[in-house]
């Protein structure tokens, strides 16, 4: 009954509309296919990669820095060359893709969840709650990612989970700020008053009514942010505070090749770089299309 008067997104229609909308845009369709392909490659990576680049027994620095197409000591072909440790670049990139995707998506989504919730709560309740949350946002935005990551590295150690944690810690504040800004505008609109009059539960008002109307800016920043999280992980690796070196992500692979980029061994840095750009690019195109499709105002 309320669904008639209040803008609301049902799960079915959301999915259906998203899919329909995606397929209508050839660009987004291509991007979605590319993304799904990369996702699939990441998931089944261990079964399709020619080599397990994490297994020290399988790699040898005898094969280090070989150009693409070289033959390995054991007779295989390194189609994309090898890195400074003699890792097959193709395998390392497939494994790196897994790590980068996992880190980016998980930390992006968790940060989105935390940030959105806190932002909505701040806007809706106002007063002290708002103050507390927003000053916390001020504090977090003031902290450089690298310092947070270093502190965590020194106190809780190194690992994929810890990098994710560091990225959530630095990202949620951005979402919270954006959501609060959007929600403040929506809060005073009539439908909110209507919802309040109907005495719907607070959670339902927040997430059922306020949230969907704050979605457009959120999706803009959200898509940016998953991409950003992947880049941020790469940047941390570049600065030497990222993942364990024996289990490189795409960012770490780029960083490893950075030193030899100018000396002609371009493949160590360029291929993982291109893959990273392709990954982020495809996510962003899909996200961009979703934004257009899901926008409750432009969808009418």
């Amino acid at each position: 009954m309320t669904a008639v008067t209040l803008p609301r997104l049902g799960a079915e229609t959301l999915f259906g509309r998203a899919l329909q909308g995606l397929l209508k845009s050839p660009k987004a369709t291509v991007a979605a296919v590319v993304f799904l392909f990369l996702l699939a490659a990441a998931i089944i990576g261990p079964w399709i990669a020619p080599q397990d680049p994490y297994d020290l027994m399988q790699i040898s620095i005898m094969d280090a820095k070989l150009p693409p197409g070289s033959e390995s000591l054991s007779g295989g072909i390194y189609w994309l060359g090898t890195d400074g440790q003699g890792r097959d670049m193709l395998s390392a990139m497939i494994y790196g893709l897994r790590t980068s995707l996992a880190v980016g998506v998980v930390s992006g989504v968790v940060a989105l969840g935390v940030g959105t919730t806190l932002g909505l709560i701040a806007a809706y309740f106002g007063g002290r709650v708002d103050t507390l949350i927003m000053r916390l946002v001020d504090l977090m935005l003031g902290f450089p990612t690298i310092l947070v990551a270093l502190m965590l590295l020194a106190t809780i150690g190194q690992g994929v989970g810890k990098v994710m944690f560091a990225l959530v810690l630095v990202q949620w504040a951005l979402f919270a700020r954006a959501v609060r800004g959007a929600a403040l505008v929506e809060k005073d609109k009539e439908y909110m008053e209507a919802a309040a009059c109907l005495d719907l539960g607070k959670a339902r008002i927040l997430f059922g009514h306020l949230l969907p109307n704050c979605l457009p800016p959120l999706i803009v920043i959200g898509t940016l942010q998953v991409a950003n999280a992947i880049s941020a992980e790469a940047t941390l690796s570049f600065l030497g505070i990222g993942l364990p070196i024996t289990e490189p992500s795409l960012g770490l692979l780029i960083a490893n090749g950075y030193e030899v980029l100018m000396s002609g061994q371009y493949w160590i840095s360029v291929y993982p770089g291109l893959l990273l750009v392709l990954l982020v690019f495809s996510i962003n195109i899909v996200g961009d299309r979703l934004r257009e499709v899901l926008n409750p105002r432009s969808a009418k």
């Binding site: 400074g84 590295l153 364990p244 100018m262």
Partner: protein
């Protein structure tokens, strides 16, 4: 805009004066891209290389290390050991500071005393003057030193302290140096401008007592980032760079119009093994728990690890050949290097046999730790060690790379089991390095300051004590060699390699490569 034109006319005047007063030598300028930058212009504030690179161009020391780190006279013309605790140093005559004031023995004594009272100094020179009991002026050219005990290497210690002018420095804070009012030495260059984080400009000191350097104006740009520094040389915005990354050596040597200068460094990269404790956190059994007793205590295990390392391969593949496999702490050419100690050969079968004899044919788990931003190839070397140990039947549970700020403190607190460090030798003999790295840590005696594994070998300690109190240079060297053999036979640390150090320049610039890894305009010249 007005200021700009003023500046321009000023520089015109300066160059006109320059033309009038000197022979028609073309003004030669040099732009240097430096990997490090000084933290202050007070030459005594910090003893680290980044500060010394600049300090040594503005100030002089009593002695000067030559490219092989051997002692050459500088402000001290000669020195003489009167009895075991008395030294006489004769100062060079006719030396003046850049403001015209003559160098006096009082300046020297003041400078040597001053190092003890530099506020907030993070890397003081106090160790260099620690042996001094008293100083007296004998005549305007001579100072007599009494030492607390026999100090055979006295001149190597005090000789490295920079001499400042008492009149300018007395009672002044670091700001007086940084604003250049006290940064007036006796050295070959004067400071013109210092923009921290960006560059420093130097002009030649025309009244310098020694050989005039080749360049009139020198700009040192601080470019810490390796790739950026190499790019700056390639794009022509600098003439000379230091610390060329090994990966760039081959490609730079193929570039027309560029030249490379190199020398085997006196910096050893080594693997430290936590062999002094009964349990070490990252030496584990199949169950992942630390083994007790700690297998690294068994010298056979340490020897086996050393034999598993293919040093030649690491140098070839990770450093692109830019280094030498090491079997001891200092390379040939440094006093105390033992020519009989070659780098242990890669010997898989021998290593496996040693491990089996020790009861660890399998089931020994190890995690290797390393820094990733301290020296070229640190993280890569650790990974290569991981591969080599794994092929020898050791279960490598991980290779962990950390930024140096986290890594160094953790290593000092004995949090690792097998970890990589480098140690640079800056003295004419191996004595300092051996003392700091391998002697039993003892704050009173000042030994073992970098002995992070708390390695302790009484025979070695004894031999070192004999060596450091021996006045006869020949005997001293022989004792240092013997001490080295004792520690290396016991595998106190596993030396890996000495990297080569590279400088690169435009073809019209020459450079004198040196084991101190210094970057100074005084070492540069113009090619004919």
């Amino acid at each position: 805009m007005k200021l700009l034109s003023n500046l321009r006319s000023l520089s015109v005047t300066v160059s006109v004066i320059g033309m009038l007063s000197f022979s028609p030598v073309l003004a030669a300028d040099l732009i240097i891209g430096s990997s490090t930058e000084p933290s202050a212009l007070d030459p005594q504030f910090s003893r680290t290389g980044n500060n010394q690179n600049i300090a040594a161009q503005i100030f002089d020391r009593l002695i000067n290390p030559d490219p092989n780190l051997q002692v050459t006279p500088n402000l001290a013309e000669s020195w003489q050991n009167v009895d075991p605790t008395t030294w006489r140093i004769k100062l060079r005559s006719g030396v003046t500071f850049q403001d015209g004031a003559p160098l006096t023995p009082e300046d020297v004594i003041y400078s040597l005393e001053r190092v003890k009272s530099i506020p907030n100094s993070p890397a003081p020179f106090t160790g260099n003057v620690g042996a001094i009991a008293s100083m007296t002026v004998v005549d305007p050219q001579t100072i007599e030193f009494k030492t607390k005990g026999p100090t055979p290497d006295f001149i190597e210690q005090v000789g490295l302290v920079y001499i400042v002018q008492k009149k300018l420095a007395d009672g002044k804070s670091i700001e007086a140096f940084n604003d250049r009012s006290a940064a007036i030495g006796t050295g070959p260059y004067k400071v013109k401008e210092w923009v921290p984080g960006d560059h420093i400009t130097l002009v030649r000191n025309e009244s310098y007592w020694g050989k005039k350097p080749a360049f009139d104006n020198v700009t040192v740009k601080f470019i810490a980032n390796d790739a950026a520094r190499v790019a700056a040389l390639r794009s022509g915005s600098v003439d000379l760079i230091d610390a060329v990354p090994p990966g760039d050596v081959r490609s730079l040597s193929n570039v027309n119009g560029l030249k490379l200068w190199s020398i085997a460094s006196a910096r050893v990269v080594y693997l430290a093994l936590d062999a002094s404790r009964d349990e070490s956190p990252f030496v584990v059994g199949a169950d992942g728990k630390p083994l007790n007793p700690n297998p690294l205590k068994d010298v056979r295990v340490r020897q086996a690890l050393s034999k598993l390392i293919n040093r030649r391969l690491i140098v070839d593949r990770i450093l692109d050949g830019a280094g030498d496999a090491a079997g001891q702490v200092v390379p040939d050419g440094i006093g105390g290097a033992d020519p009989s100690l070659r780098a242990p050969a890669f010997d898989l079968a021998g290593a496996k046999k040693l491990l089996a004899d020790a009861g660890f044919a399998q089931g020994l788990g190890l995690t290797i730790h390393t820094s990733n931003d301290r020296f070229s190839g640190d993280a890569e070397t650790a990974q290569a060690l991981g591969q080599m140990f794994a092929q020898g039947g050791i279960k490598v549970n991980g290779v962990v790379a950390q930024p140096y700020n986290v890594y160094a403190s953790a290593a000092g607190k004995q949090q690792f089991s097998a970890f990589i460090f480098s140690l640079g030798t800056t003295t004419p003999t191996s004595a300092t390095s051996l003392r700091n790295l391998l002697m039993t840590p003892d704050k009173e005696a000042g030994t073992g300051s970098f002995n992070r594994t708390r390695y302790s070998n009484p025979k070695f300690d004894q031999k070192m004590k004999e060596a450091t109190s021996e006045f006869d240079p020949q005997k001293r060297i022989a004792q240092l060699q013997e001490a080295t053999r004792i520690a290396m036979d016991d595998v106190g640390v596993i030396p890996l390699f000495w990297p080569k150090v590279y400088w690169a320049s435009k073809a019209n610039v020459t450079y004198i490569p040196n084991r101190g890894e210094d970057l100074m305009a005084t070492l540069a010249g113009t090619a004919q």
